[in-house]
């Protein structure tokens, strides 16, 4: 009940802000700041005025939104698989991090957008370059959290598994990964937000489609309502992905008593 009420009050505040924004922008009448109603109308025309056969979605949705989201989630997923696999390997090895730690610290200190030109030179314009940017930019939180998580398996569990001669597969998938999963999820969550940012950046630079490209294109056309619609869309996407991941996390980590309490305390659990 309390959860419901606190979630509702959050939405009410948002609604009030939108109304205020609407009033303020109407009064100001600035070209650069169209009122939310106009942004919404533009968004409707751009994305939701398609034929019934495609659920009212326009071609732009398929070209921009789906392409962008596919790249973002694809890059994030690749980073997830690589990051967890490498992280568990490094974390379970006694010495590997001594060798690799400094390199990782250095690599993750490089701001990923600065590598866009490098990837542009290496790959062709488009998806491979964008995927490379997203993977490179999002892998570090996952990798480092996986290392931490893999190391968090305590001595008693290690000895229990060894005493029962648990197979390597069961050891990794049945003990190490579950023990590391809270940390891994923390890394995945940071990376998910990063992947959205990097998706936009990579599209601003070298792309002919996608939300980022559409954003830049609208701005160059002085189509400010369309530009704002893209910005709002990015916000909505970020919110949806985060909520989705939180829901998955809550399910996967349901065994964790602490997680349950934290989820309850945080209200929505986001």
């Amino acid at each position: 009940m309390r959860r419901l009420r606190s979630a509702a009050s959050g939405w009410i505040v948002l609604l009030v802000l939108v109304v205020l924004w609407e009033t303020a922008t109407r009064i100001a009448g600035s070209l650069y700041f169209p009122p939310p109603s106009q942004i919404a109308e533009t968004a409707r025309q751009m994305w939701f005025s398609g034929p019934v056969s495609s659920l009212f979605l326009t071609d732009v949705v398929f070209e921009d939104l789906f392409a962008s989201v596919a790249r973002m989630l694809g890059g994030w997923a690749i980073a997830g698989v690589l990051g967890v696999a490498l992280g568990v390997l490094l974390g379970r090895s006694a010495t590997a991090m001594d060798y690799c730690g400094p390199i990782i610290s250095f690599l993750r200190a490089i701001p990923p957008p600065t590598l866009v030109p490098v990837f542009l030179a290496l790959f062709t314009l488009g998806t491979p370059m964008q995927l490379a940017t997203i993977v490179f930019g999002t892998i570090w939180p996952i990798l480092l959290n996986s290392v931490d998580g893999a190391r968090s398996v305590d001595e008693t569990k290690t000895e229990t598994a060894r005493a029962f001669r648990v197979s390597t597969v069961d050891w990794i998938f049945g003990v190490v990964l579950p023990a590391a999963s809270p940390k891994i999820f923390a890394g995945l969550r940071i990376s998910l937000s990063l992947s959205l940012v990097l998706m936009v950046i990579s599209e601003l630079v070298g792309s002919t489609e996608g939300i980022g490209y559409r954003l830049l294109y609208s701005q160059r056309q002085y189509d400010f309502p369309a530009m704002w619609a893209s910005i709002v869309l990015l916000g909505v996407l970020g919110f949806l992905f985060n909520t989705g991941l939180s829901a998955i996390e809550r399910r996967v980590l349901a065994w964790q008593p602490a997680h349950r309490q934290a989820a309850l305390a945080a209200g929505t659990g986001a």
Partner: protein, 288 residues
């Protein structure tokens, strides 16, 4: 009775610190042997070397005649720290099944786990997670997991040191019942003199670090034991006193005149209990 475990000249050193020094003893099939020794004397180290978790520096271990190298296939361990030895992401039933994955089919795993949980009186708790159970119940899960594995030898490292006195009595009786019904061979390590005498068919008394065996006491109590009448019996009291004296004296024979053995035993016990209480409260504090 055939020999289940034969230990010869077993020693282990951490660097230049000798933890256990040339221990030799045997455990017969079906026997429950308690090893009692002061904290830090090397009891856990002994169990680790026996189970192949660490390599011994000297000596041999043979399990049903086979020389032990690495971890043997049919050996189970119950650790003191049940909250860590159970896997919190698995339900109770899955925890018990987990070590069987390598050995038997899924259906058989289920059946064995359900059966073992019934033995320890936890039939209804299979779907729960460990943290939803009390400490004593969690340790029963760990015991069920070991039993479901059907080990030739069950090693227990201070299995009841982290539960309250009442639960400890219950678990002790549960262990006695289970081993009687299922003919399990058990080697149990403890620092609690009463417990070693109450549970054991035999008690091996270890000296202070480095651990050596100072006595091998046969426990002449009836197989059926009872928390009240057994502990009151003269045999129990005498054995407990003797064990305490051996532990306290570290093996040197004390002049009888000086003894008041009961008094020594009582003081020793009081000290042990106080230490346990301190440890328990530390653990409690650490958990919160």
């Amino acid at each position: 009775m055939s020999t289940m475990l034969e230990v010869t000249d077993l020693g282990h050193r951490y660097g230049d610190h000798t933890a256990i020094d040339r221990l030799s003893f045997t455990v017969a099939a079906g026997e429950l042997v308690c090893i009692v020794g002061p904290s830090g004397c090397g009891k856990s180290t002994l169990l680790r070397t026996l189970s192949g978790l660490v390599a011994s520096t000297t000596g041999h271990v043979a399990l049903h005649g086979d020389e032990v190298r690495g971890v043997p296939d049919d050996l189970a361990v119950v650790f003191q720290d049940y909250s860590r030895s159970l896997f919190p992401w698995l339900t109770v039933q899955r925890n018990v099944e987990f070590p069987l994955k390598r050995k038997v089919s899924r259906a058989e795993r289920r059946a064995r786990a359900a059966e073992a949980l019934e033995w320890v009186g936890l039939s209804g708790a299979g779907a729960k997670y460990p943290w939803q159970l009390s400490g004593g119940m969690q340790q029963r899960v760990a015991i069920a997991r070991a039993l479901a594995y059907r080990p030739a030898l069950l090693l227990m490292d201070e299995p009841f040191a982290s539960v309250d006195a009442q639960t400890r009595f219950e678990l002790e009786d549960l262990l006695l019942r289970v081993r009687r019904e299922h003919d399990t061979t058990i080697l149990l390590v403890t620092h609690d003199i009463d417990e070693s005498v109450y549970l054991g068919d035999r008690v091996l008394v270890l000296s202070k670090s480095p651990a050596t065996i100072v006595a091998n006491l046969k426990v002449d109590l009836p197989a059926e034991r009872d928390q009240i009448t057994t502990r009151e019996s003269d045999t129990f009291v005498a054995l407990r006193a003797e064990t305490a004296r051996l532990l306290h004296g570290g093996g040197t024979v004390r002049p009888r005149v000086q003894a008041d053995p009961e008094g020594v035993a009582a003081r020793f016990l009081a000290a042990e209990r106080a230490e346990q209480a301190a440890q328990a409260s530390k653990r409690h504090a650490a958990q919160n």
